[in-house]
């Protein structure tokens, strides 16, 4: 029984061809010693049975992966009578690189030029005869998915396998390398190896596996092996380059592609959005528009429904508890603790949904890479690594992955700075705090205030980054290159998925960690028995009263604001939840807004917002900092410096604002 091996790049249609040839007559196992799948099948052609081996998809026959090694070793073993190389006609340059390597091995190859229908759709014209002539082997046009050309392919493969023809390929790697190939080949010839020229090329390419094989099987002189090792670094790229040049020549003779657009839409858009001077203002305008839309859609159009729903559920649940004569403490916990606290957080979900929907669109179109690029220029100008902004963008969702993303920075200086400034990025958990204060004090300029808070976080991060790079770390930044992917229309499914993931996380945290914090603080706010719940006499009130003077210079030295800020160190969402709970009797957002208007002024609201933006990040972030730096000292530094910085800036805002008469 003759054996046919199928080899090709991933996604070239190789498995489709295998299925089309063998139907259900397949057997799937593993290649010995590795976890790579082995697919074997049988089919009949002109009353003769053939066995087909579907080799793992591979771009090359090097030793870069298990798949490549499995494919290469099988072909080298000579177990197959003929190799069918499946080539994706729409991506012919990449695919023919593998073909040249197969030909260099000296095995009998037939090319199945697959996906010809897709190539036609893309206006790629391929002269199959010219291609066959240039390669010196049979080439058959196929559309495996439609069973087209398969009969002809098998016919040609069987005929070629039984013929005495041998593939010939002659790539010149340049005078010096060709001379070296001949020298090494001479030694291998005398050692009676099966593929002397191919082995010589692979040795000079620096293929470690082949080096080990040759060292073991053929006793080459020590000085020859040493000279090969010495020359490899210079030859490796040259050899691969010459192969591409060879492929390029063949393609120029046999393939006609539509002329490349001189300037694509992506290029045109990039000229504007990545402009040296306009890039950053455009980024700022886009973000501002997103915030504006968040308020218009999330608050004005959708906000009322969710608030009404939370209120409806809360009221009816309390009525039900009254009806079944449940203990008073339980009614109080549900009414003030759960619905006054966590319920308040839930009311901001429409805004979070809308904001992350638009951020999802930005990410999916490919704009975020441009934003990172335009900010890269600014980062470098102040001595920070451009990659820092990428971790900052990640931090807009949550600072935990933002801090983990700093791992991409190579040197310690860049990484530590990126890590220390990441918490200034306004994460999703801070959003409810911003939104409740905006509703109370800046309802007509919500988008502008939100935009300014996000921008202020970035500015503070840049300032602190500059200070750290001057004071704490003084190494040089390393160079990196960023890829700008082509723009694409956002895929609605992905945008919704990305938005939902973030909203779900928000809900999950509200139902877990924030619930625990609220429950704990609720207990403290109603004890000891006999005192007015949520009053200054409660345990929570007393603790808050002791600590409140810290924040008096910033204008919000009330025990309620103080406990909410400290609760925020557990999780930032808890700030609003605790504010909702401790302003007794508050059962939903509008009333919390009214309560805040009684206690805060627009100026103290701003200083409170800036404090929440800058002060100590949540426990999860601190835990991540500890894990990433493996240092208690840096974790404590992060917790303290952010708190002090937040306090200083809040105090400055309040005191300067007061002096200016606000």
């Amino acid at each position: 029984m003759s054996i046919i091996a199928l080899v090709g790049n991933p996604n070239s249609g190789k498995t489709t061809l295998f299925n089309a040839l063998t139907g259900s007559n397949q057997h799937i196992g593993n290649w010995p010693g590795v976890t790579v799948e082995k697919k074997e099948g049988k089919f009949k052609h002109k009353e003769k049975q053939y066995s087909v081996i579907d080799l793992p998809g591979t771009y090359s026959l090097g030793a870069y992966s298990e798949d490549e090694l499995v494919a290469r070793n099988f072909i080298l073993s000579g177990a197959s009578d003929v190799v069918i190389n499946v080539v994706d006609a729409t991506n012919i340059e990449r695919n023919l690189y593998l073909t040249t390597q197969l030909l260099e091995m000296g095995v009998k190859v037939v090319v199945a030029l697959n996906m010809m229908d897709e190539a036609k759709q893309k206006n790629i014209e391929i002269d199959v005869c010219a291609l066959s002539k240039s390669l010196g082997i049979p080439v058959v046009a196929t559309i495996a998915s439609k069973n087209k050309g398969l009969e002809d392919l098998i016919e040609k493969a069987v005929e070629y396998a039984s013929s005495g023809e041998q593939p010939r390929i002659d790539i010149s790697y340049g005078e010096e390398i060709d001379r070296e190939i001949d020298r090494v080949k001479g030694f291998l010839d005398s050692s009676k190896s099966d593929h002397p020229k191919w082995l010589a090329i692979k040795l000079l390419e620096g293929d470690e596996e082949i080096y080990k094989l040759v060292e073991k099987k053929f006793k080459l002189p020590e000085d020859l092996l040493a000279s090969i090792k010495e020359k490899t670094p210079d030859y490796e790229l040259e050899i691969v380059d010459k192969r591409y040049a060879f492929v390029g020549n063949i393609v120029s003779l046999a393939v006609k592609k539509p002329a490349r657009e001189v300037e694509t839409i992506t290029d045109k858009l990039d000229k504007i959005v990545t402009h040296k001077y306009f890039g950053i203002p455009i980024f700022a305008i886009i973000m501002f528009i997103i915030f504006q839309l968040t308020f218009v859609i999330g608050q004005d159009l959708l906000g009322g429904y969710v608030a009404g729903f939370v209120e409806f559920i809360g009221e009816n649940l309390v009525k039900l508890l009254e009806l079944i004569n449940s203990p008073e403490w339980l009614q109080s916990f549900v009414s003030e603790g759960i619905f006054g606290g966590i319920g308040t957080v839930f009311e901001f979900i429409p805004l979070i949904v809308v904001l992350y929907f638009f951020i999802g669109i930005l990410e999916d179109t490919g704009y975020m890479a441009r934003a990172a690029y335009v900010m890269d220029g600014l980062m470098r100008a102040i001595g920070l690594h451009g990659k820092t902004f990428i971790s900052m963008i990640v931090g807009f969702g949550c600072n935990v992955p933002g801090i983990m993303a700093t791992r991409t920075l190579d040197n310690k200086k860049d990484r530590m700075i990126a890590l220390l400034i990441n918490p200034f990025m306004s994460c999703g958990a801070r959003l409810p705090i911003y939104l409740v204060f905006i509703a109370a004090f800046f309802p007509n300029n919500g988008a502008l205030v939100l935009f300014l808070l996000y921008a202020f976080g970035i500015v503070m991060a840049l300032i602190m980054g500059k200070i750290f790079s001057k004071v704490l770390f003084k190494e040089e930044s390393s160079h990196f290159i960023m890829e700008l992917p082509p723009y694409r229309l956002p895929i609605f499914k992905y945008v919704i998925r990305s938005m939902w993931d973030k909203v779900w996380d928000f809900l999950y945290r509200a139902g877990s960690i924030i619930f625990v914090v609220v429950a704990l603080l609720w207990v403290l706010s109603v004890l000891p028995f006999g005192v007015e719940p949520y009053s200054q006499e409660s345990i929570l009130g007393r603790i808050g009263t002791i600590l409140a003077p810290i924040f008096a210079p910033a204008g919000f030295g009330t025990w309620q604001a103080t406990v909410s800020l400290f609760a925020g160190i557990a999780a930032k969402e808890a700030v609003v939840a605790i504010l909702g709970m401790v302003y007794a009797g508050v059962s939903e957002g509008t009333e919390l807004v009214l309560a805040l208007q009684d206690v805060f002024t627009p100026l103290t609201a701003v200083s409170f917002l800036v404090m929440t933006l800058l002060y100590t990040p949540c426990a999860a972030v601190l835990g991540t900092v500890k894990r990433e730096t493996n240092s208690v000292k840096w974790t404590i530094f992060m917790a303290l410096y952010t708190f002090v910085l937040g306090w200083i800036v809040a105090v400055l805002i309040y005191q300067v604002g007061r002096l200016l008469g606000f």
């Binding site: 210079d234 969702g397 949550c398 791992r407 993931d501």
Partner: protein, 87 residues
């Protein structure tokens, strides 16, 4: 071609395959292929923007908010720098 692409990306801080294709007057697919080969051969290395954690996404409490739309960045390796110094 590979050398030219390596030289080009060492010269700039940001690239799109179309701009390199334009400046080297080669097909965009070939630029993609060249970058792929340069990574395989260890001349450049692709950095992962998404956190490269020990924790698998399925077991991570932050997987849902983690950055899934990675911004691709590359660094030239020592091997790449050595070659660039020679050409």
């Amino acid at each position: 071609m590979l050398k030219d692409v390596l030289k080009e990306i060492s010269r700039i801080r940001v690239y799109s395959t179309s701009t390199i294709a334009d400046s080297l007057d080669i097909d965009e697919e070939l630029v993609k292929e060249a970058i792929f080969q340069l990574i395989r051969m260890g001349y450049i290395v692709e950095d992962e923007t998404s956190p490269t954690c020990e924790v698998k996404c399925s077991g991570c409490a932050y997987s849902s908010i983690c950055n899934t739309k990675a911004i691709k960045t590359f660094s030239i390796t020592d091997k790449g720098r050595l070659l660039l110094n020679k050409i």
